[in-house]
């Protein structure tokens, strides 16, 4: 049953409630909808009085999350479940589903939020974030709150969004219930501890009233949920690994085809795939021999004993450095040089960006024990890749489009950990651990008649391939416009033959290409946006959805170009143009996937 049909049925919801329900459910996959259905059923059966009481009721605890990869959502869900099991009334909301004006009525809010890209809030947290930081932000003197941040300390702006929420709420007069915690990639234990602490303190402020709200996660337990996740990944098989850049290309970009069971993984165009990888055994061996450690040494990893060499392959980051590792190593190596670097934030980041673990142990000799060394290393993190296929077209496959990260420096060759694994070390027909990360903020329009403009550079084209497959299968009538950029026409026009076929078949209405190195002056996608400004604005005015995917730097340039184009075409000020785009974004008509 389509949501739009709800209105025609006898239903107890008023228009506003219906609208909210519709917007809450928009873009959900069938699994999600089933899940929500189960949740609502559970809610209805266990809380017969709730409807009547609701008008006056404010949850005693409101849990807000802003999630990009799903981790914050998971922690917030667990938090809600524990709150309920302790007898608190708890409301759980994604920040973009939460009615911002309610904030002034809240007494206690717990926030779980990740940080994305270059220190930006996740897509779903942006509205609340900018509302709180804007002029319209209310005083929140009655509010008590606590913030749990999620991040990856190998990025420069570790947990910046959490810090900003924390500081800003404090500025607005709210009272910290508990010090913020910034969780790194190995967040499970610290977040559990923080959750317990937060609920302990809550008890002191708000008496438990019995489980009047059924926590989401308990309801979830009753119905089928995604079987596979980050911690229990699905074992996929690599079917094909095909280079798709030409001979002379600088970038080695691969088209990978993974075999999956469609019963196990169900994905939608726009989704991303989390991939667990193993480090390069040669690199691990080199690191060990540099430090003088025996790979057979036993260490404890997550409470289990493991050979050190195995742990370096499977459990620790070897290709990304981390501030704590550099600091710790500086004191182990008793190096003044390195200590100086570690003490200077800017130099430390520069060092981290330009080096890997092998450089550190090579440049600053030290002899830690196996346990000491492992204790400094960062837990291995899965990497996320945009899926470049549609399951409607390739039911039992997932296609990925990724660039082998490799470079030379200090007289040696370097490779990215995950891309090196996927491209060079994983053989065809071998298995790898993956899990689906849904990306509800990057979705085709609900209606097939809606036109779309797809802007991307490099591997940013991946989801658009999935989009086109889906639109072709659906026989969608909406027009499709691709604006793609890369280095050279001959070598880097990813999926060229497919785009040609789509255009020949009349499915791809416009293609604008920017190959930066084919002429003396560099040309990028933002130049094509400028050149086609009038047309682009016309498409937007006629209701087209706009997508932007690729590296953050490109994303910034493109957004600036879009503001300029809208301003030129509409005669608005740049601020007005930015607001225009912002409105599109709020309406879900401007979606971004930047990394």
């Amino acid at each position: 049953m389509a949501l739009s049909q709800l209105q025609t049925l006898t239903n107890p919801l008023d228009d506003q409630q219906l609208q909210r329900l519709q917007s809450a459910l928009e873009g959900m996959s069938s699994i999600q909808l089933t899940w929500v259905g189960g949740y609502l059923a559970g809610l209805g059966s266990q809380q017969p009085q709730a409807v009547a009481a609701e008008a006056e009721m404010h949850q005693s605890i409101t849990i807000l999350f802003g999630s990009e990869s799903g981790n914050a959502r998971a922690i917030a869900g667990a938090l809600a479940e524990r709150a309920a099991s302790r007898g608190f009334e708890a409301g759980l909301f994604s920040m973009d589903d939460y009615r911002i004006r309610e904030l002034t009525k809240e007494r206690l809010v717990l926030i779980v939020v990740s940080t994305h890209g270059e220190g930006d809030p996740p897509e779903g947290a942006r509205d609340l974030h900018s509302y709180l930081h804007g002029k319209r932000a209310p005083r929140l003197d009655k509010l008590k709150y606590a913030v749990l941040g999620l991040g990856d300390s190998s990025y420069q702006h570790f947990c910046r969004t959490a810090k900003e929420f924390d500081n800003r709420l404090h500025e607005l007069g709210a009272e910290r219930l508990l010090e913020r915690i910034d969780c790194d990639v190995d967040y499970q234990k610290p977040s559990d501890d923080w959750t317990e602490k937060a609920l302990d303190l809550t008890k002191a402020h708000i008496p438990a009233q019995g489980p009047k709200v059924v926590p989401l996660t308990r309801a979830a337990a009753k119905i089928p949920q995604a079987r596979y996740g980050q911690d229990n990944p699905y074992r996929a098989r690599l079917l094909e690994n095909q280079r798709i850049t030409g001979r002379g290309a600088v970038g080695d970009i691969r088209h990978l085809i993974l075999s999956i069971d469609p019963e196990a993984i169900s994905y939608t165009p726009g989704d991303t795939l989390g991939v667990w990888f193993q480090n390069d055994p040669l690199l691990a061996g080199e690191v060990l021999s540099e430090i003088g450690l025996n790979g057979d040494a036993r260490i404890s990893v997550k409470g289990r004993e493991s050979r050190l060499s195995d742990a370096l392959l499977r459990h620790y980051e070897l290709t990304r450095l981390h501030p704590a590792l550099v600091r710790g190593w500086a004191s182990l190596a008793k190096s003044d040089d390195l200590s100086e670097i570690a003490a200077d934030q800017a130099r430390l980041w520069e060092y981290i960006q330009q080096h890997q673990v092998i450089d550190l142990v090579n440049q600053y000799p030290a002899r830690p024990s196996a346990d000491e060394f492992a204790g400094l290393l960062c837990p291995l993190q899965p990497r996320l890749y945009s899926i470049s296929s549609s399951q409607t077209e390739f039911e039992d496959e997932i296609h990925l489009t990724l660039c082998l990260l490799q470079y030379q420096a200090f007289g040696r060759n370097y490779q990215g950990g995950a891309s090196g694994f996927l491209v060079e070390r994983l053989g065809e027909d071998e298995s790898l651990d993956v899990y689906l990360v849904e990306n509800p903020c990057f979705r085709l329009p609900g209606g097939g008649d809606t036109s779309i403009i797809m802007i991307g550079a490099g591997t940013g084209v991946a989801p658009y391939r999935a989009f086109m497959q889906q639109r072709a299968v659906n026989n969608d009538k909406g027009a499709n416009w691709l604006i793609f950029g890369n280095r050279h026409f001959h070598n880097d026009f990813l999926y060229q033959l497919e785009w040609q076929r789509y255009r020949k078949a009349g499915l791809l209405d416009r293609v604008d290409l920017a190959f930066s190195r084919d002429q003396s002056e560099k040309v990028y996608v933002q130049h094509r946006i400028h050149q086609n400004g009038a047309e682009l604005y016309r498409w937007l005015e006629e209701g087209a959805h706009l997508y932007l995917c690729g590296a953050s730097v490109m994303g910034g340039d493109v957004k600036q170009a879009l503001i300029e184009v809208v301003s030129e075409q509409s005669g608005q000020s740049p601020e007005g143009a930015a607001e225009y785009l912002e409105t599109l974004r709020r309406q879900g008509r401007f979606q971004q996937d930047l990394y």
Binding site: Q242, R243, I244, T245, G246, R247, H255, F489, H490, N491, F493, L494, Y495, Q496, L497, E498, W499, Q500, R503, V511, D512, L513, D518, Q519, S520
Partner: protein
């Protein structure tokens, strides 16, 4: 239109005087290729669509279209250009093509690897120095060859003037080239007129050469139309006119064959343009438009008979052919190194392997020639053997130019005369016609042939070896003493019996030899030649005298015997 005509004829007919949809093809940014019709029409504008055949399959696997690029061939009558022009050509080659210039057997240069988006810039670039590419390829009169020997400078200059005039007289008149490439004003429909060619141009390519005996470096008899300059006491009297030469043949099709031109008779200089035009219009009206394999003038003449053809040309041109003057050719090769002309100016002929002007670690041809062009006050002349003459150097600059040439390894000291006489066409990987390697095969093959010749004690032998990747004959293989013509990957037909002067066709000696068999056969041949040759006897003459092959006299009948 006659329903019997081939597809290219239809394309020409609907092209609106060579416009086609070239502008739309250029604007199509999703492919490096041209629309199929335009890939035919573009030839008249001087460029071919090619792709890197080495990469074709691999790129398909990579979801990429073939590595398309364009090859642009200029019109440069007689191969003469100024140092200023050279500097521009060089710069365009480095910035808009694949970093090389390719000198051709038709005394012009080609750019390879030009991206579609850059083709207009290339054409505009050469236009800035007054060079165009009209009719560089296509079914029109191609670049006119002219003996570049500058030593008899006044005569050469006068003859070269005629080559230039013939080229200009036979240019298509359509404004399409100026409209599309040079942003010329668009002509309203219906105003175009091609007085010589008509709307469908010629049935096939048409090649013209002007020779100054005793040099036959232009391989005069391989051309559709030829003029042999006749001079008395250094003064130009007129030309012997020849017609119906051509190299191209198709493997396995004995109705196709290379053919040497027939002599029609002697004409005065002022009759040259009328004769050239008449020749073109006879071919226009009588050439075969059904089958491109039989569309060259040589077949038209064999069809009509020489006498009828001569009569037709004479009456259209309004001339009477006098009896041809006796001529004698001595060589089809180049003379390397410095020579001094009658007027005291100096000329340096540089050996350019396969005509490829490129910087290599051991030899910086491109850089060296650029430096020479920077100070040179005379001109450059591309020879029909794909070499380059730095011509008209005043005596006082000889040393300076010599030292630049030496610094960059341009002087071909130690290069054997076998190698210096050799020719190879471009072939793989870019030429769409190629069946086997040629330009890339030549250096390694010659290493081995030189070693063989040394072993047989004839290291200094002077013989003409030519290699082409297909039977169409760009490097005029059927006039070589030893010709290799590509049959399939790594396989060649071997031809023997040219006379080293370009006046006798060779004949197939062995078919479909693998590379090892090629070497083995050549080794036996050189061994026999070293042992049994008469004093001064050339290899080609030797192979006929000893009956290795029989002389071809009537190619329509005896080339395929």
């Amino acid at each position: 239109m006659n329903s019997n005509v081939n597809e290219v004829e239809r394309i020409k007919a609907r092209s609106n005087f060579l416009r086609g949809t070239l502008e739309a093809s250029l604007a199509d940014n999703i492919t490096g290729a041209l629309a199929p019709d335009d890939a035919q029409i573009s030839k008249f504008h001087g460029f071919y669509e090619q792709d890197d055949r080495d990469q074709r399959d691999e790129r398909h696997d990579r979801i990429l279209e073939p590595y398309y690029s364009l090859m642009l061939r200029a019109r440069l009558p007689g191969g003469v250009c100024t140092p200023q022009q050279w500097l521009t050509l060089d710069e365009i080659g480095r910035t808009l093509a694949n970093g090389t210039l390719r000198l051709t057997t038709r005394q012009t240069f080609q750019y390879h690897g030009v991206l579609k988006q850059n083709i207009k810039a290339v054409i505009q670039g050469i236009n800035r120095v007054m060079i165009d590419s009209i009719g560089g390829c296509g079914d029109v009169n191609r670049n006119v060859l002219c003996n570049p020997n500058p030593t008899v400078s006044e005569l050469h200059q006068e003859v070269h003037g005629w080559a230039r005039r013939i080229s200009e007289h036979l240019l298509p008149r359509t404004q399409a080239y100026h409209e599309i490439w040079l942003d010329g004003e668009k002509l309203a429909g219906g105003k175009e007129h091609e007085p010589i060619y008509g709307p469908t141009y010629l049935p096939r390519k048409f090649k013209t050469a002007v020779a100054v005996p005793p040099d036959n470096d232009v391989d005069l008899y391989a051309n559709d139309l030829g003029f042999i300059a006749i001079a008395e006491a250094g003064r130009l009297q007129g030309f012997n006119v020849t017609a119906g030469g051509g190299m191209g043949a198709t493997h396995g099709d004995t109705t196709t064959y290379p053919r040497l031109a027939d002599e029609l008779g002697f004409v005065k200089p002022e009759q040259v343009l009328a004769v050239a035009e008449a020749m073109v219009t006879v071919q226009r009206d009588h050439g075969n438009r059904a089958d491109r394999r039989h569309a060259r003038l040589k077949y038209t003449i064999d069809q009509m008979g020489v006498e009828q053809f001569r009569y037709e040309v004479a009456s259209r041109a309004g001339v009477n052919f006098a009896l041809p003057k006796p001529v004698s050719f001595t060589s089809q090769g180049d003379r390397y190194g410095w020579v001094e002309g009658a007027d005291g100016q100096r000329h340096l002929t540089l050996y350019i392997e396969s005509g490829r002007v490129v910087d290599r670690p051991e030899q910086k041809l491109m850089t060296g020639l650029r430096e020479i062009a920077g100070i040179h006050q005379g001109d450059f002349r591309i020879t029909p053997n794909q070499n380059l003459i730095v011509a008209r150097v005043p005596a006082h600059q000889q040393g300076e130019i010599e030292s630049i040439a030496e610094k960059h390894g341009l002087l071909s000291e130690g290069v054997s005369s076998i190698r210096k006489q050799g020719l190879a066409c471009v072939a793989l990987p870019t030429c769409p016609q190629a069946m086997a390697e040629a330009e890339r095969y030549l250096p390694g093959l010659f290493d081995k042939v030189e070693a063989m010749a040394e072993r047989h004690g004839i290291g200094d032998t002077d013989c003409v070896i030519r290699i082409t990747g297909c039977p169409n004959g760009c490097a005029r293989p059927y006039l070589a003493e030893l010709g290799l013509v590509g049959k399939g990957p790594g396989h060649y037909n071997l031809y023997l019996g040219g006379d080293g002067k370009g006046t006798r066709l060779n004949k197939r000696y062995r078919e479909n030899l693998g590379e090892a068999e090629v070497l083995e056969t050549m080794d036996q041949l050189l061994e026999q030649y070293a042992a049994d040759r008469k004093p001064g006897e050339r290899l080609g003459d030797f192979t006929i005298r000893t009956g290795l092959v029989t002389e071809v006299k009537q190619p329509a009948r005896d080339f395929h015997d």
